[in-house]
Symmetry: D2
Subunit: 92 residues, 4 copies
């Protein structure tokens, strides 16, 4: 069971809002809105998505640590995997 289960409702709410923002971007393009305004809206969506990512990461790491504290194995692999995901989020 993933660590984020407890905050599922919150995550789904955020994603529904992001979906609406993306739909809003389509509408801005349809309406031929000013380019710079659309770019700023894209920045906002990226930021909102990264907040979701940070929330998930936080739960995941907390889960790893709890698991390790309870004598769970594979803690090192989990951390390597999480670090690799952070690197991909950073695109480095």
């Amino acid at each position: 069971m993933p660590g984020y289960v407890m905050q599922k409702v919150d995550l789904l709410k955020r994603l529904a809002r992001i979906e609406g923002q993306v739909r809003g971007l389509s509408r801005m393009i349809e309406d031929e809105r000013y380019c710079i305004d659309i770019l700023d809206q894209i920045s906002a969506v990226n930021r909102a998505l990264e907040k979701v990512a940070v929330g998930l990461m936080s739960d995941h790491l907390g889960h790893c640590v709890t698991n390790a504290a309870q004598g769970g194995a594979q803690a090192t692999e989990k951390i390597d995997e999480a670090t690799a995901a952070i690197a991909r989020l950073l695109r480095s």
Copy 2:
């Protein structure tokens, strides 16, 4: 008329795909999929959004230059505005 008008169809197609990807993220959360897989999907959506941003920026800058070549005024302000939008995309 914004510079991106000519590629409206392409931009709308990309955004429809991104909207589907965000819906996919919700489904992954609903299904309690593995955290790291969701994080990678978020990285993919961010990348797709930034491709849209770069496409819009390219059109916008091309438009500024064409306009300046035709003796249009306000070229400097337009460039300042575009630079500020680039800074916001970079979050710097």
Copy 3:
């Protein structure tokens, strides 16, 4: 002559400061300072470097536009090149 020539002194001052910040990072590692403090210092250096990048981009774009206004050729290629550099800064 590149567009940034006029602000050379400012750019060199910023880069000298960034070089000092990187040297500071080495000192933090030598002194075995707390990991999170080092990470925050890295965030600060990245931000400072991106400010330099945005300044250079601004000059470059301004130069392209001035050039186009004076009937210079190659405006489109210059814009494509600048857009590609923006994409690389964004890592998208």
Copy 4:
């Protein structure tokens, strides 16, 4: 004792290289090199710095997990702190 102590030599080598890259940026400005080439060099430095950040983060998280496995307290606070640092690296 921070978790990165074991790889201190590697981190210091990387930072020395980054310091050299930043000095190279100053030289490029002095020599009035082409703007786009300088921007690409800045992208490279940012990427190198983020690799250092990811390395430090990896050690830090590994340390947290080991600590938790040994019954160390404060695991949750440590994870919150690490998550906040990731958010700052992402600028979200």
